[in-house]
């Protein structure tokens, strides 16, 4: 399922004038009313000016009469477009496909990459916060198609539109991105909202307004695929191949990948760099662009390794009617010098597992490949933490603590019979099976960590290692110290298996 983010900058021209790189901009406070104008006609107004009733299309003289002391600057659509282009390049951090939506927006195709940023809601929040720090007012929406996202960002409240939901019906017909004369005529005919328009008979409308209306309606309904034209990152190492005949097969793609990688690796070697991230774009005959993105844990310029990682992703590419060009871009590169390899026959060279980790992450995702590091905590659940697979080992593991090899998370409730306060259970029932305890060690008292949570101020667990009559060993604990109900409710739990 495709997911597209649309970002709308309602006051881009006036916001831009306050950016540090604008030397000829206004010199007073950004809260004062400000408009940009061309040929004495207002083109855009900042928030304060809009609140005072100034609208694009007004004459500057009229605006100045309404708002005394109004600042007026020259409109510069080319400058706005250049800023949008830079913003789109910056948005490549979210996805390999980010595009300008002239004159005042961006599109980011985030299909399959939202999980890297903690989900769609968090991605949008992060995006808006970053733009705000740049001094740009923005509203963003994510939806199934560029058309719906565009409409929700501008005419709705923004945010996440759930997959498969139909929200276009309630929007005004301006949300369809139609030319002004078509809009005016539709209004004359009595169409106000998208819903009745899409329900109306299509043929007479198309005869009157041309295919653009039908195309926009189909794009809004998700019937017609709307391609976005992604921007390329600035000044990066890249390689591109165009083909006389469109390519369709995975073998052909692999061959091209090999040549592209060889070219890119040559460039990387000249610059003493190693790739940390690669985007491979497939430009299809029908104008759409598909992309695969890989990342590596360490700088790499091993053509074989990079090629294999890209090949593994090929199955996600839909060549459609054919691919006419492939474009490989190094999105991130870090310095990588030359390393002398050991040539001793005797010494065991410590093998580098970074390529394996890269490939596992490529297949399973970053969260699924990890190392475990010890944490200075007596509470078993907190005594380990997950660290990235290639971090250096830190800390030492407690060698002499009796700890189970399997930990049940959360601990499972058992019914146990035990003498209070500090005897091991005589017998316990776990999953309706009764285990009679023959041997036991304990208690090992583990107190709550009051500096983490107030509730743990007085809580206590008493752990026992017990062996049942079949020889299986369990790690059970009682919540509470056996005397004081304030330390726990004296219920028994099974926490691990030896």
């Amino acid at each position: 399922m495709r997911r597209v983010v649309s970002v709308w900058f309602p006051t881009l021209p006036t916001d831009r004038l306050w950016r540090p790189e604008e030397v000829g901009g206004p010199r007073q406070s950004p809260d004062l009313p400000l408009v940009t104008a061309t040929s004495r006609i207002v083109v855009s107004a900042n928030e304060t000016a809009a609140d005072l009733g100034l609208r694009p299309g007004m004459k500057v003289a009229q605006a100045q009469a309404l708002v005394p002391g109004l600042q007026v600057c020259d409109a510069d659509p080319a400058g706005d477009a250049a800023l949008l282009h830079r913003l789109a390049q910056a948005c490549l951090r979210y996805s390999p496909l980010a595009a300008m939506d002239l004159p005042d927006g961006l599109w980011i195709d985030v299909t399959g990459s939202t999980h890297l940023h903690g989900g769609e809601t968090r991605l949008l929040r992060d995006l808006i916060a970053r733009l705000k720090r740049q001094g740009l007012t923005a509203r963003a929406a994510v939806a199934d198609t560029p058309a719906v996202a565009h409409a929700v960002a501008r005419f709705g409240a923004g945010g996440v539109v759930p997959p498969g939901s139909n929200v276009m019906g309630g929007f005004p017909i301006e949300a369809l991105r139609l030319p002004n004369d078509v809009l005016a005529n539709l209004r004359l005919m009595g169409f106000e909202r998208v819903g009745p328009l899409s329900a109306a008979a299509r043929a007479p409308l198309v005869r009157r307004f041309g295919p653009v209306l039908a195309a926009r309606l189909d794009q809004a309904a998700g019937v017609l695929f709307e391609p976005i034209v992604p921007v390329t990152p600035e000044a990066s190492i890249q390689a591109r191949r165009t083909f006389v005949e469109p390519l369709l097969t995975a073998e052909a793609f692999s061959t091209v990948i090999a040549t592209l990688i060889a070219e890119v690796c040559g460039e990387l070697e000249k610059a003493s760099l190693g790739a940390r991230g690669l985007d491979l774009r497939f430009e299809r005959v029908d104008g759409t662009v598909q992309a695969i993105r890989i990342g590596t844990a360490r700088p790499v310029r091993d053509a074989l390794h990079l090629g294999r990682m890209l090949d593994e992703r090929l199955e996600r590419v839909d060549p459609g009617p054919g691919v006419e060009a492939m474009h490989l871009i190094v999105t991130r590169a870090d310095p990588l010098g030359f390393v002398q390899t050991a040539s001793s026959l005797l010494e065991n060279t410590s093998a580098d597992i970074a390529p394996l980790v890269d490939r596992l992450i490529n297949r399973l995702g970053e969260a699924a490949v990890y190392r475990i590091a010890p944490v200075e905590s007596d509470v078993p659940e907190r005594s380990v933490r997950i660290v990235p697979a290639l971090t250096r080992p830190t800390g030492s593991w407690p060698a002499d603590l009796p700890r189970p090899v399997r930990l049940l998370n959360p601990p499972q409730s058992i019914e146990a019979m035990a003498l209070l306060p500090d005897h091991p259970p005589v017998a316990f029932t776990w999953r309706r099976v009764r285990h009679r305890v023959r041997h036991a060690d304990g208690p090992e008292r583990i107190a709550g960590e009051w500096w983490k949570r107030d509730r743990e101020w007085s809580s206590v667990r008493d752990y026992f290692r017990v062996e049942d009559d079949s020889g299986r060993r369990f790690w059970v604990f009682r919540r509470g110290n056996g005397n004081d109900l304030e330390t726990g409710d004296m219920r028994w739990f099974l926490h691990g298996l030896f």
Binding site: L345, L346, N348, A351, D352, I353, P355, L356, V357, R359, L360, R363, L364, A367, A368, V369, Y370, R371, I372, A373, P374, P380, S383, V384, A389, P393, W397, P398, A399, D400, L401, P402, R403, P404, V405, R406, L407, L408, N409, H423, P424, V426, V433, V437, R438, H439, A440, D441, G442, R465, E467, D469, S470, G471, R472, R473, G496, L497, F498
Partner: protein
Amino acid sequence: MFATLTIPEKPSPTDTLPRTTPVPTPSIALLRERIARIGRIHTRGPAERSIPFDIEAIDQALPTGGIRLGALHEAASAGADTEHAAAATLFIAGILARLDGPILWVLRQADLFAPGLAAAGLNPDRIVFAEAGKNVLPIMEEGLRHPGLCAVVAEHTGRLSLVASRRLQLAAEQTGILAILIRRSQSFDDPALNEPTAAATRWRIAALPSPPALPHAPDTPGLGRARWQLDLTRCRGGEPGTWITEACDATGRLGLVPDTADRSVMAA
């Protein structure tokens, strides 16, 4: 409260095992191993090395005198522990503790507790974990094709076809990496665990009750070292066998069960 049962020290090999040849000093043995390793680079593949249990009865039953590296081995727990495979995991951890190098541990779900591995002598810092969901076997094969590892462990639930296991076996042979499958199952006596596979050995580890307490012990005596019944149910080029051993100690070594311990208790 704590164990009153005295467990004799494990007898050192020199005074119990009759040897005809003089025991080589460690440095000589190390040099010989190095020379052998250099020779192997030019002659054969990296396979044919094995890691012994240092228990003569078990090592003799295995055709290579130990767990062969560059081969696939299976381990499962017996009885109710089949689901969590705690004993099998400790058994495997003991073998891996005596190897050097990084390990890939392919999980289906994350219920492994690293401090428990550390208690069996296996430093968890050596392990890279991969949560593979349903792709345990492909990820295991991926790891086996990477020559930098010393072992790949995977926890597999359900059936294992002959073809799949042969793929793993071939991958392990090529790179000389020890491949271990921990077979888990929801049911105790899952027939799927007994189906033939291409594994070199198949182990079943069952926990045994500790020996009876000494007289004058408290009502609930303490825990000594755990005891296992090791069943070698399949062994390519060797005979199956059953041994009763003590569980891995802090360096990952199994112990012989001192039969005399019980006897002295009875006498007393």
